[in-house]
Amino acid sequence: MTTEMKKIFSRPDSLKDVQTHYCPGCQHGTIHRLVAEALDYFGIKDQIIGVASVGCSVFLYGYFDVDVIEAPHGRAPAVATGARRVHPERPVFTYQGDGDLAAIGTSEIIHTANRGELMTVIFVNNTTYGMTGGQMAPTSMPGQKTSTTPYGRDVSTDGYPIKMAELLSGLDGTAYSVRVAVDNPKHVIQAGKAIRKAFQTQLDGKGFAFVEVLSTCPTNWKMDPLAANQRVADEMIPYFPLGVYKDATA
């Protein structure tokens, strides 16, 4: 008896057929896939320019089959601005972590959003500096122990976790600002839709589009992947509520 096999699930064309360097349980892989699915959906793999940041996602060009410019730490939105101005017909996205975007690159992200640059920013918030070994990030939770807050983040001296999706939603240049998570299938589907909408916003010329994705870092959180995933639901989402903070695309 022969069974006719039909392929119903495969790697998006926008992703290369390679292994990533990400740690077990890291959600960069899931987020990469959602971005790649959006690029496939719009058929813009050969048009889009990716701007890589500094951090675990620096190897963007190794995983996405798109043209990539590598930016200095925090400067991806400025590099993307230069690229977008030269090739207005080519969409642009940056992919940045919390240290990159919400600490050293705060100035660049705010002013890029404020100019209403036509780009999509994927902001991966895992409450720590992953690549450098788990130091305190601008998004680290109150009390969170990191390698530079061994007694826990003390908000009286270290300040508070910064809420970028809310902050950027207050700028006139921001057309779309949303926070999503990828800790369960429902959230993954919602995140995929949000990422697709963020690219749609850019392609429609509506303005700056921002997607904050809550993510795990099991290695630096010193948790197994399941426990790390549970932390997203138990600790992060209550502090960083999911939802659309601005939608001026209608």
Partner: protein, 358 residues
């Protein structure tokens, strides 16, 4: 050719550099206001849009240099301009541009320092310009105009050299050259016939086949060493082919005054005055500060001549002069910039007489 490109004009150095850049096909400018160079973004913000280009006043020097990196990676002729404290902020981006072999022009209308210092003409940024001002052990092309005409001419050369070698290029001027007005004869830009198309850059429309990546990260065994060796091999070729200098009355000179930029203008007058007094003195003026014209020093100042190096700082280029002619005694005369410290030709002449007769 436009009529405006044949008429003799009376303009500021800063305007000349803006005019030269536009004529050379620069269509993207990213910058941040700072004295004494703000005439450049002001001129470009008015004229570039008329040519279909884009002027963007960025939120910071850091953002502007990174916008330049992005535009350059996309194959455009683009520039930024600033002055000393702003150039310090740009050094991170310049290092990344050098590492990822992005061309682009950076103008430094140098002011005095350190710190906030002052807004007077200064040459205190020689080191941070020619020695690789950022991290990582690289060089950029550095051109030093000494007139309004050269502001126009050298910015065109800067774009050509930068594109040819895929090395960022800096115009190192100062407040005097930037702010003074003198005659300028504009001329049309003629692209060098051998300038290759930017096959490496992210092209318009979309990627044609293979993925293009502009980056400076090399982690594989031996990769970064090979990359650095490649960069330094380019510097060696530039040293061979791209050195430029001006020789004034050097053939019979028993004493060589050497200076660049504004200091060279003062020195030129001092040399003329010395000649009028019967002293056999000439001027060697580097136009390329990197690559440094070692060959010119060997030719004109390495055979028993006395050498006087004059700078608007406490001694920076003099180190390179001494390296170029190690057996020659090189004396230095410099004054750190600040209000009221710009030397006069008579002051330089006194130094010439002092050492000539010594």
């Amino acid at each position: 050719m436009e009529e405006s490109l044949t008429k003799r004009l009376f303009v500021k150095g800063n305007e000349a550099i803006a005019m030269g850049a536009l004529e050379a096909g620069c269509r993207y400018y990213f910058g941040y206001p700072i004295t004494p160079q703000s005439d450049i973004p002001e001129y470009i913000s008015r004229e570039m849009p008329k040519l279909g280009g884009q002027f963007l006043q960025a939120e910071s020097e850091i953002a502007s240099i990174n916008m330049l990196l992005g535009a350059s990676a996309c194959g455009a002729r683009a520039m930024t301009s600033s002055s000393s404290p702003g150039i310090s902020l740009k050094q991170e981006g310049i290092s990344y541009m050098a590492g990822s072999e992005c061309p682009g022009v950076i103008v430094n209308v140098c002011r005095s320092g350190p710190g906030l210092g002052g807004i007077d003409a200064s040459q205190a940024d020689y080191f941070q310009s020619v020695k690789g001002g950022g991290h990582g052990g690289y060089h950029i092309i550095v051109l030093a105009p000494d007139s309004v005409q050269e502001m126009y001419d050298l910015v065109m050369l800067a774009f050509d050299l930068s594109d040819r070698y895929r090395v960022p290029a800096m115009i190192l001027a100062d407040a005097v050259i930037g702010q003074m007005k003198e005659g300028l004869t504009p001329h049309p830009y003629v692209a060098p016939a051998d300038l290759a198309t930017k096959e490496w850059a992210l092209i318009g429309g979309g990627k044609a086949g293979e993925q293009k990546v502009v980056k400076s990260l090399y982690l594989g065994d031996g990769e970064l060493e090979a990359h650095n060796n490649k960069l330094h091999a380019k510097y060696a070729v530039m040293q061979e082919k791209e050195v430029r200098f001006e020789a004034v009355e050097l053939d019979d000179a028993e004493m060589v005054v050497t200076a660049y930029g504004s200091a060279a203008r003062i020195a030129k007058t001092a040399v003329r005055l010395a000649r009028e007094q019967g002293l056999k003195v000439g001027l060697l003026r580097p136009v390329t500060l990197f690559p440094f014209p070692n060959v010119a020093y060997k030719k004109y100042a390495g055979n028993g001549q006395k050498v006087l190096c004059c700078e608007l700082n406490n001694g920076q280029m003099v180190d390179d002069v001494r390296l170029a002619i190690p057996t020659t005694e090189v004396v230095f005369y410099g004054r750190a910039a600040g209000a009221g410290s710009l030397p006069t030709p008579e002051e330089y002449l006194a130094q010439i007489r002092k050492h000539y007769e010594a």
